[in-house]
Symmetry: C2
Amino acid sequence: MIISYKRPKAFLFDVFGTIVDWRSGVANVSQQFFETKNINQNSHDFADAWRSKYQPVMEKIRSGNRGYFPLDLLHRENLDQLLLELDLTDKFNEDEKQELNRAWEQLPPWPDSVAGLIAIKKKAIIAPCSNGSIALMTRLAKFGSLQWDCILGAEVAQNYKPHPDAYLKSVAALGLQPNQVVMVAAHNSDLAAARKYGLLTAFIARPKEHGPEQTIDLEPLENWDFIITKIGELASI
Amino acid sequence: MIISYKRPKAFLFDVFGTIVDWRSGVANVSQQFFETKNINQNSHDFADAWRSKYQPVMEKIRSGNRGYFPLDLLHRENLDQLLLELDLTDKFNEDEKQELNRAWEQLPPWPDSVAGLIAIKKKAIIAPCSNGSIALMTRLAKFGSLQWDCILGAEVAQNYKPHPDAYLKSVAALGLQPNQVVMVAAHNSDLAAARKYGLLTAFIARPKEHGPEQTIDLEPLENWDFIITKIGELASI
């Protein structure tokens, strides 16, 4: 039997949760503020609450009810709302709110991410296909030594995943066809969208993304093209 | 005297001519085709003629008479026109024309470029602000080991230098102000535009960009903020 297999030309990565541990990162930065200010607030709960406001604000943009707006600024809107809900607004001045919002630029990569990306980069193009902006992805890459070839995703597409533009405009920006590109994610829903629009798919479980009691995305829910346990395994496909 | 000097947050680079030697690169790839096909054509003249068609086609886009179209495809249109003018159209099949067009992805960096960029990258964000597309800049970076933090320029801005969008949308994509960013180029006209829109400017002479008889851009024509002889000098400003 001859299998006509063509090595993928590019790998696109979800970032928050797949490549970096956003929950720990946001909790770490928040915790420093809470300690300095003697605020009695669990920093992991704070990270979860902040993140929970993420999908609703993006949905307005995906549905066309709001023009594209970079995620940094959506995070800031959500932070202001969260501080209001927790009655913490007056504890932070404007500079401190800006600094706290930069928590999203200081997220630690999972242990296998950096070396894995370097290994894949020798074989193919690697780029984030994240909902994070170019500014956010650039600073996050510098913080965590993520050596992307370029930055694709929401800002290049001017729309948010799982809108088809986020995937297809990222693929088009590389001058490639969807079936030459692998979308890599720890989220089944992200891969379902990518597959729908013709990309190959790779799943990696990140069972602690949402903390010790995570219940979702613990395993692949479809027969994704590749199921891996470390990012670097994609270097040899 | 106290000088309030703030280190730039990012450096944006012109690429064709400033970071890489497009003339030698295009001539090298073309020469291989001409030898294989026994075509009697000087490859450096060919590179010059191809490049000379660059500004007129972009001007249509800058002036609003044509929507944004990536440079890879403009190069291809210009190649087809050039082959026609030289009566060489029938010498190349479609695959070969596509391969020849990829000469623009195989341009050698000037000797100081790679190490210089690595040095600057430790201090600030580095990105191309070129008229090349994301696809072209990505492949050129892999070919020449240019370790950009992200890729900015014409495609992100959806317009070509020296249109203000090419500079200002690149700066905005980093969440910065123009006066926090240095535009680096071997072309006085590029820097004049960047300065007009508020960016800092750095000039490096590339006296062989256009071959041994170059007459333009041999020296700075204005008092640019930085005048350097090697890219890496920008790491210490």
